[in-house]
């Protein structure tokens, strides 16, 4: 998802007889649905895993602005442009909420940003695909933000208080993102045959990468099992992906668009859609840094940060001057 393949650093799920008294107490609180707060005792592996998960999530929000920034100056109307800008500003806000949540675990903002800029930290694979037409703004809001909602709603109930509270705030704002995307798709699908073809082309390119966002099957993953025990992962990757397919296929039908999967069909026994197999080689390749836009995204992000250095320095100089100045009577 926005955080994919999060390591716990553990080889097997911690069992009760391996736990210290503090750890047993900690697990009992989680099992009872009590939120863990920053000053509470927590196992080091829980803290580190959360830092990785929340910071990956934050980096994804920040880098996620870049594919959309590509279309701000070329939005078809002033209203679409204002809406897109507001959506992108929300993504920055989501990044800020999440960085703050990560900092409650004892890491600094500068360290988190350094890890993103040096390429050490990961962000979601989805943002390494190019945005080739205006229809991609529709497909991203509809499919990518739609998938993000499916992932993030359960996290509102996760065990770590600051993360859960950040997710509540994010989820409230995320439906706007999904709807503005679907609204773009509806306008294109009601337009000329060429416009409808643009929408179909965007769906063709974003469908599979959106399914990959949820990550490979984690039915046998120790990391996922441990994260589930800690209640920082509430459903399996496959379950969340299945929900995405089940809710999105009827939305595509309403638009009159074809989901690019010849194996997609309704399964009357399960009451869910069966779908074709995913190209995980592509997913791993993108994660390794070889997606269509990995280098460009990181470069653009670093340049934006470096170009803003003079402004941050000026703010700091002003603050230092104010502090040094004698208080006016």
């Amino acid at each position: 998802m926005y955080a994919q393949l999060v390591e716990t650093g553990l080889k097997k799920v911690r069992s009760l007889d391996e736990m210290s008294a503090e750890e047993i107490d900690f697990q009992a609180r989680i099992d009872a649905g009590v939120k863990i707060e920053p000053k509470d005792w927590m196992p080091e592996a829980y803290r580190k895993t959360l830092v990785r998960q929340i910071s990956q999530h934050a980096h994804s929000e920040i880098v996620g602005q870049l594919p959309e920034a590509n279309w701000v100056t070329r939005a078809p109307t002033l209203e679409r442009k204002a809406v897109l800008l507001a959506k992108i500003q929300d993504e920055a806000g989501h990044g800020m909420y999440l960085y703050s949540a990560a900092e409650t675990l004892g890491v600094s903002r500068d360290q988190l940003l350094d890890d993103l800029h040096s390429g050490k930290a990961k962000y979601s694979s989805i943002f390494n695909y190019p945005t080739l037409s205006w229809a991609d703004m529709g497909a991203i809001g509809w499919l990518v933000d739609g998938s993000a909602i499916i992932n993030q709603i359960p996290l509102c109930r996760c065990s770590y208080g600051p993360y859960a509270r950040a997710m509540v705030r994010v989820c409230k704002e995320e439906s706007f993102h999904a709807r503005q995307g679907y609204d773009i798709m509806m306008a294109l699908c009601k337009g000329t045959p060429e416009q409808k073809q643009m929408a179909q082309d965007a769906l063709n390119r974003w469908w599979w990468p959106s399914l990959m966002m949820f990550g490979p099957s984690d039915a046998t993953s120790v990391n996922s099992a441990q994260s589930a025990q800690w209640r920082i992962k509430l459903f399996s990757n496959d379950e969340l992906r299945q929900r995405m397919v089940d809710q999105t296929v009827p939305q595509a039908e309403y638009l009159g668009l074809r989901v690019p999967d010849p194996d997609l069909k309704w399964n009357t026994d399960t009451g869910r859609y069966d779908f074709g197999s995913i190209n995980w080689d592509e997913f791993h390749n993108v994660l390794r840094g070889n997606g269509p836009c990995n280098r460009q995204r990181l470069q653009t992000r670093k340049q934006a940060y470096d170009d803003g250095a003079w402004f941050r320095d000026a703010l700091q100089a002003h603050a230092d001057k104010q502090e040094a100045a004698p208080q006016a009577a």
Binding site: Y97, D313, L315, Q316
Partner: protein, 94 residues
């Protein structure tokens, strides 16, 4: 590069008459920028009519270990709650 900006805790009054409520935190070099940043990060949808920002370093907090000493004494004082005193049904306005 300049030093890391201090952390500020942000409190928003959502409507006139309600108390300020903690909504999150942010970094800013001074109080003026902290208010500006809080406006952008926490009130994009008209969530507030007032903002407080406070340097996180200036907040004094109880620690989870003190929970017993601080809060247990209240447990055996149930008579502080009005429901401790059952009232006869025919007695009104109490």
């Amino acid at each position: 590069m300049s030093k890391e900006w201090p952390l500020w805790e942000v409190f928003i009054r959502s409507q006139h008459g309600l108390a300020h409520k903690h909504v999150g935190s942010l970094h800013a070099p001074d109080d003026e920028m902290a208010i500006n940043n809080a406006r952008d990060v926490y009130t994009r949808r008209n969530e507030g009519v007032g903002i407080w920002v406070v340097r996180a370093a200036d907040i004094v907090s109880s620690s989870p270990g003190d929970k017993g000493a601080l809060f247990e004494p209240a447990n055996n004082k149930v008579y502080r709650h009005p429901t401790f005193f059952p009232m006869p049904q025919e007695v009104k306005n109490l």
